[in-house]
């Protein structure tokens, strides 16, 4: 897009367009760098998991399917396995190749709020660490960790051993302490995130259940008898619909016509008696059932919305 805009109006001056290209490539690099920050972070958290003492790692692994699954927003839940590694393998490979980016990303990572304990000064120590990471996350993508926890665990243990050997040779004492601090904080962050998501799910389910309660109460309050209005609704609203397949669905359920008319008059009187009680019911319902969550969910009662809903009902039928 931009190169065209540059070369079109002033095709004589080649230099500026070249500059623009350079700018573009720079921006592109930045974008890549932005993208890079994602995978190493995941990989980093993962290595932090790996550097836990064995029992703790096992606990976390034991928990991993749940935590992986609920780490995603509740409605986009699909497989649960791939969620922790959203980026593709190509990106990670590139990250391994351009180790400059990897180091930069790692520095970024150290500044991120989740791993506050570390300082960017030990980047030389971390460089080796980061270089070894992409292979790990690759292997992880090959076998999704929630489905095969056993195998994963084995490979993790192996890698843990490798890690320790490396740490003995390469890392200075300070960086080892840093990683320990990370390891201490990470599980807490991880699991408390799970708890938050669980909280939201619980709230949602509760509010839905309350709505069902409320709606059934509302129906019970509106209808003096449970089903009488169904046929009268159908008669009033959907005379035209009665010919289609819909009639075959409802007709067997309908009352005989005579009975309906008889019932209806009877129940109209009944309803007028009930009408005195209804405001009281309405008030009580509001007190009992309309919580802040419910009121969010657009309990619409205006006239046009009512007509809209009758249309909606028609559509459904």
């Amino acid at each position: 897009m931009e190169p065209d805009a540059g070369t079109g109006p002033r095709s004589i001056t080649i230099q500026p367009s070249l500059d623009q290209n350079a700018l573009d490539s720079l921006q592109f690099n930045e974008e890549i760098q932005h993208l890079m920050t994602v995978p190493p972070e995941n990989a980093n958290s993962f290595t932090a998991l790996l550097e836990l003492p064995a029992p703790q790692a096992m606990e976390l692994l034991h928990h991993s399917p749940e935590s992986n699954a609920s780490a995603a927003p509740p409605f986009q839940f699909s497989g649960g396995a791939n969620l922790t590694f959203p980026s593709n393998t190509a990106l990670i490979e590139r990250a391994a190749r351009f180790s400059v980016f990897a180091a930069a990303a790692d520095n970024n990572n150290n500044n991120s709020p989740e791993t506050t304990g570390s300082v960017p000064s030990n980047s030389s120590g971390n460089l080796g660490k980061v270089k070894s990471e992409p292979a790990e996350s690759d292997s992880n993508q090959d076998n999704p960790n929630s489905s095969q926890p056993n195998q994963n665990q084995k490979s993790m243990k192996r890698k843990e051993r490798e890690k320790k050997a490396k740490a003995a040779t390469k890392k200075s004492k300070s960086s080892a302490i840093d990683s320990n601090e990370d390891a201490e904080k990470l599980p807490y962050v991880h699991i408390s995130g799970t708890a938050l998501v669980l909280d939201e799910i619980i709230n949602h389910v509760q509010s839905l259940q309350r709505q069902v309660e409320f709606l059934s109460m509302r129906l019970a309050a509106v209808n003096p008898r449970i089903d009488v209005n169904l046929d009268s609704i159908l008669a009033a609203e959907s005379g035209s619909l009665m010919d289609s397949n819909y009639s075959s669905m409802v007709m067997p359920l309908m009352w005989p016509e005579l009975q309906i008319s008889g019932n209806r008059q009877q129940y109209e009187q009944q309803w007028h008696l009930d009408a005195h009680h209804q405001p009281a019911w309405g008030r009580e319902e509001n007190q009992n059932f309309v919580t802040p969550e419910n009121s969010l969910l657009s309990y619409d009662s205006s006239a046009n919305s009512a007509s809209l809903h009758s249309n909606h009902l028609k559509m459904e039928l």
């Binding site: 034991h62 509740p74 309660e213 059934s216 509106v222 449970i226």
Partner: protein, 194 residues
């Protein structure tokens, strides 16, 4: 997975038949009884619209058919053969849970020994992760109590079932609300005419 509209249709069909059954059973009910009947029939209709493929719907039907009075209604909504099938499934469940409990016990024992050893080494780390874990297990317990049949699920399937349950609850709410609105509309029109 089925399209939500057909799910709605099926739910409405089953629900209406359940409501008719209710009204023929007992003529005069108090408003609370009526509400209970409406809710029960809506729940069972929703569960049977899911066709008993999910754990929560099976558990809901099993719970509803515990009560003798409601059993008739459930049977009516489901249809006889379906009812038999689902009952068979729900009676099969206890053996499975026993196994699972035993497995958990073994696992706990093995985990416990390891934890005791590590407590001596790094008490603080364990403490932090213990607190965090307690937070999430508590919430899992709450969620299990909310979803019908949640006690019998492990953590992964619990979340799957919960999402399915949420979806069908939303369908149920949609249908119920549109029905309630339509009913109110008809009533208000009738009132104007009178």
């Amino acid at each position: 997975m089925r399209a939500p509209n057909s799910l709605k249709q099926e739910f409405l069909k089953k629900w209406i038949s359940g409501l008719q059954m209710c009204s023929t059973c007992s003529k005069n009910m108090s408003i609370l009884e009526r509400k209970k009947a409406i809710k029960l029939s809506a729940d069972v209709a929703m569960a049977s619209a899911r066709n008993g493929r999910t754990c929560w719907s099976r558990a809901l039907i099993a719970n509803a058919s515990k009560n003798d009075k409601d059993k008739l209604l459930v049977e009516h909504i489901l249809g006889n053969s379906e009812f038999q099938r689902l009952n068979k499934i729900s009676t099969m469940r206890p053996t499975m849970t026993n196994k699972r409990v035993r497995c958990k016990k073994i696992l706990k024992r093995s985990c416990g020994t390891i934890r005791r050893v590590s407590k001596r080494v790094v008490p603080q780390k364990i403490l932090a992760s213990c607190v965090a874990k307690r937070l999430s297990t508590k919430r899992t317990q709450v969620l299990k109590s909310l979803v019908p049949g949640g006690e019998f699920m492990d953590d992964a399937s619990l979340i799957e079932e919960t999402l399915d349950y949420i979806m069908s609850l939303q369908t149920q709410i949609d249908v119920m609300r549109s029905l309630a609105n339509a009913t109110e509309l008809v009533l208000s029109r009738k009132n104007e005419q009178w």
